[in-house]
């Protein structure tokens, strides 16, 4: 839900990082948090298990700058990737403005990617959204590992609507900001249309 505050001249948008368990959603947020100036970010909230697996969500507000005199703040959320946290995933998609699907490029995680993507479409539908009409970016993470699926094959399997695709190594920050910029641009472009 894009929220525009004319009093404080702020635009607030919600972006959700979605994907299978251990694909690197939290690592994306952690890298953004670590690489951003203190004045541009709020706290990184992690509702995680004792073993650092996301239990409910990770959250951080990020200020990108001003457009037409309005401060643009993106609220970045991750969902828990593990299959049995589906109820939590549905809740976090409420009011979403843009989605980043983080895919795990490893061969053995291909089924998990496809299942998670299907789950995303299903949960968006539950919330009254269609993936085809939502700002959306595909990130192919863990490209530095030896057992990855070739780029073309992975894109062929996972790309849904001609959305931008980025190769990434979230632990090193490769592709992290490119992904964020791409989805943020789409969200602001949608705002103009609406």
């Amino acid at each position: 839900m894009t929220f525009i505050n004319y009093a404080s001249r702020e635009i607030n948008c919600k972006i959700v990082y979605y994907g299978p368990g251990l694909c690197g959603k939290t690592t994306n947020l952690q890298y953004i948090y670590d690489s951003t100036a203190p004045q541009a970010k709020g706290k990184l909230i992690s509702l995680a298990t004792e073993t650092d697996r996301t239990l409910f969500f990770d959250f951080m507000p990020l200020e990108l700058g001003t457009v037409r005199g309005f401060k643009t703040r993106f609220h970045l959320y991750t969902v828990p990737g593990q299959v049995y946290y589906d109820a939590s995933r549905k809740l976090i998609l409420k009011g979403v403005d843009g989605v980043v699907f983080v895919a795990d490029s490893q061969e053995e995680r291909m089924d998990a990617n496809i299942e998670s993507l299907y789950n995303l479409e299903e949960n968006l539908d539950t919330q009254g959204y269609e993936l085809s009409k939502l700002p959306y970016v595909l990130q192919l993470n863990k490209r530095d590992l030896p057992n990855v699926v070739p780029l073309d094959d992975l894109t062929y399997e996972l790309q849904k609507k001609g959305e931008p695709v980025f190769e990434a190594v979230a632990t090193a920050g490769t592709g992290v900001f490119d992904t964020l910029k791409a989805v943020a641009k789409q969200v602001l472009t949608e705002l103009r249309k609406s």
Binding site: Y6, N12, V67, K185
Partner: protein, 202 residues
């Protein structure tokens, strides 16, 4: 943009959906209050814009200020159920209000889902008791009235005062809803250019 400066403060909240409350001399029970007056309309919610003009914003601030005094609360928030702060009044100190609103919304989302699992439609109120500070959250359709209070107040007082304020907040949001389509058609954001967007990332 100038036109909006003349109009004053405006909020655009996409997705708030609150049914109009009847003028009742006796408040309905919590269950009927939420089940019938504020039944969520999930599909519409995801697509319809909601705008609050200066007048409604000031009215909301007035209600929150009064509630804060009446409850002897530390701070009172009005939060969208998606986690955005709409307005607040009171002593926030160094509290991270953005995170607070996000977590309050997550909290209510989780407890609402738990309610459904045990056959309840919704938990209209959520209470967390701390050693010094406590939090009372009242669900008003698509928004949450959150009261943070300490030992100077009591749960009973907070519940009583919050209930009355909830009706007033709902009325104000309804008033804003009736004016939202005009404000949406005049939004300054229809004039955003590609260059404006690109400049954010330069």
């Amino acid at each position: 943009m100038l036109e909006y400066r003349h109009c004053g403060v405006v909020f655009l909240i996409r997705g708030l959906q609150v049914s109009r409350l009847p003028k009742l001399s006796v408040y309905p029970s919590n269950r009927s209050y939420h089940k019938y007056r504020f039944a969520p309309r999930e599909y519409e919610m995801a697509h319809s814009p909601f705008i609050i003009q200066e007048a409604q914003f000031q009215k909301l601030k007035t209600v929150l200020a009064r509630l804060c005094v009446e409850c002897a609360a530390r701070v009172v928030f009005l939060v969208d159920r998606d986690g955005q702060t709409i307005a607040f009044h009171g002593d926030i100190g160094d509290m991270d209000t953005t995170s607070f609103s996000s977590l309050a919304a997550g909290n209510v989302a989780a407890t609402s889902s738990m309610a459904k699992l045990i056959g309840e439609d919704v938990f209209p109120a959520v209470f967390h008791e701390g050693e010094r500070e406590s939090i009372f959250i009242s669900v008003i359709g698509r928004s949450l009235l959150v009261v943070v209070f300490d030992e100077r107040s009591t749960l009973g007082l907070v519940k009583l005062r919050t209930k009355r304020a909830s009706f007033e907040v709902a009325d104000i949001l309804n008033e804003a809803a009736s004016m939202s389509s005009f404000a949406a058609s005049n939004s300054v954001f229809s004039e955003i250019t590609d260059e404006d967007i690109d400049s954010l990332f330069s």
